[in-house]
């Protein structure tokens, strides 16, 4: 009888603690989630860019989600360079065909994968980009060739809405 009583008491206390803990967790979540991107930021997650005025060999930089996106209209020579590299020579092997939907247009996040600086256009040992912060060299496909950066520059989700308009995001 006495034992039964103890058990029931234990159950009551355990249940109280458990239900209390669930509530505490539920209260904490809104306080954490409020720091995530809000509805107005999420709504701006895609942007459309008119590229009709970009000539061959020119790069434009647009802002997307607060970061620069490089849109480069590559010359035939650059495409040739990017496509002739052997995958074994690459630190982060990726085919140029997988990086550029349309070989003429390279759309990539202009953020060095080392520590987040913005690389300079048409600089470095591989005619692509060069990051001045810690000396990372990227090729004409934005792939890391030399320096501390671990991976190629990121390709955002994008699509050609029509021949002259690219939708990023």
């Amino acid at each position: 009888m006495a034992e039964k009583k103890t058990n029931r008491r234990d159950f009551l206390f355990t249940a109280t603690y458990a239900v209390g803990a669930v509530g505490a967790g539920a209260v904490v979540w809104p306080m954490i989630d409020q720091m995530n991107p809000d509805a107005s930021v999420k709504a701006l997650a895609s942007t459309e860019v008119d590229v009709s005025s970009v000539g061959p060999g020119k790069t434009i930089t647009v802002l997307w989600r607060g970061k620069p996106v490089f849109i480069r209209r590559r010359t035939d020579k650059e495409i040739e360079e990017a496509r002739s590299v052997k995958l074994e020579d690459l630190k982060h092997p990726e085919k140029d065909e997988d990086r550029a939907q349309n070989p003429e247009w390279l759309v990539m996040l202009g953020v060095c994968t080392h520590l987040g600086c913005v690389p300079l256009d048409q600089k470095g040992d591989y005619n692509g980009w060069f990051c001045p912060c810690h000396g990372s060299h990227y090729d004409t496909s934005g792939r890391i060739r030399k320096g501390p950066a671990p991976t190629n520059m990121e390709i955002p989700k994008y699509e050609f809405v029509n021949a002259n308009t690219i939708k990023i995001g």
Partner: protein
């Protein structure tokens, strides 16, 4: 017993105050059944969509709604237009954007992320176009008026000929629900003014109700989420309170006293 009589005395005192302060507002607003009132209150989706139509076709030529974006029209708990519908709505507005690379401002069709287009560039322009009176922004209008939805609903139907003895200046109208009865907005609604696509008969009463519902949502876009969460929270609290109550009884049973 004494304790009880005191509590009753206090309750009477408080209710007297309550009664008095209500009596101070002499006007009785028109009543209608709002679907969003009560513990489980939700917006009437169709009414919100019709209300949006009334707002766009009637109100929006003078009243801005600067805190709303076209994307809000698709959000849960709102009019819930489909994304395609909302995109079409947004695209039907010309939005000022820029500057472009030449430094010029330009207009383009609206996007979901754009705010509702404002009828005037600024407050001064709005005033000068409306005889000096600024048509208030409608984003939080319902919350900014003491009578809330009942007041707005009544005001829209409260236009009358002024009683004998009251003369009105040009551009001033008589409304029995307006504070001081003089309003600078002319009567806007008349039966059949808009044509509802769902076939609802567009009476003044119906339009008033629809547009007021829409304004309520505009002011409290998370009302449905709030009601839902509130119910869960209170049920949860009652369960936990019960558990804690019995735990407390258990613990205090160790000492010879009452809690």
């Amino acid at each position: 017993m004494k304790k009880f009589s005191r509590i009753i005395f206090l309750i009477i005192l408080i209710t007297c105050f309550q009664y008095n302060s209500n009596a101070a507002e002499k006007v009785e607003y028109l009543k209608t059944d709002w679907s969003f009132k009560g513990l489980f209150g939700k917006f009437d989706r169709a009414s919100l969509q019709r209300g949006y139509q009334v707002y766009t076709e009637v109100c929006s030529s003078c009243h801005s709604m600067k805190y709303l974006s076209y994307r809000n029209l698709t959000e849960k708990g709102g009019p819930e237009f489909t994304e395609a519908e909302a995109k079409a709505i947004a695209a039907s507005f010309e939005v000022k954007d820029g500057p472009n690379s030449d430094g010029d401002m330009f207009t383009r069709p609206g996007k979901l992320s754009d705010k509702f287009v404002m009828p005037y560039d600024n407050v001064k322009a709005a005033q000068s176009a409306n005889g000096g009176a600024y048509p208030p922004d409608m984003s939080v209008l319902v919350k900014a008026r003491g009578g809330g939805v009942d007041y707005i609903y009544s005001l829209l139907q409260g236009y009358e000929d002024p009683p004998i003895g009251i003369t009105l200046d040009d551009g001033v109208y008589y409304n029995k629900f307006m504070y001081g009865n003089k309003i600078k907005m002319a009567n806007q609604l008349s039966d059949g003014l808009v044509e509802y696509s769902d076939g609802t008969n567009a009476t003044v009463e119906q339009m008033s109700k629809d547009v007021t519902t829409f304004l309520m949502w505009a002011a409290e876009p998370h009302l449905e989420a709030r009601h839902k969460m509130g119910f869960k929270a209170i049920v949860y609290l009652i369960i936990l309170t019960t558990l804690v109550y019995f735990s407390m009884k258990r613990i205090w049973s160790r000492v010879k006293t009452e809690v």
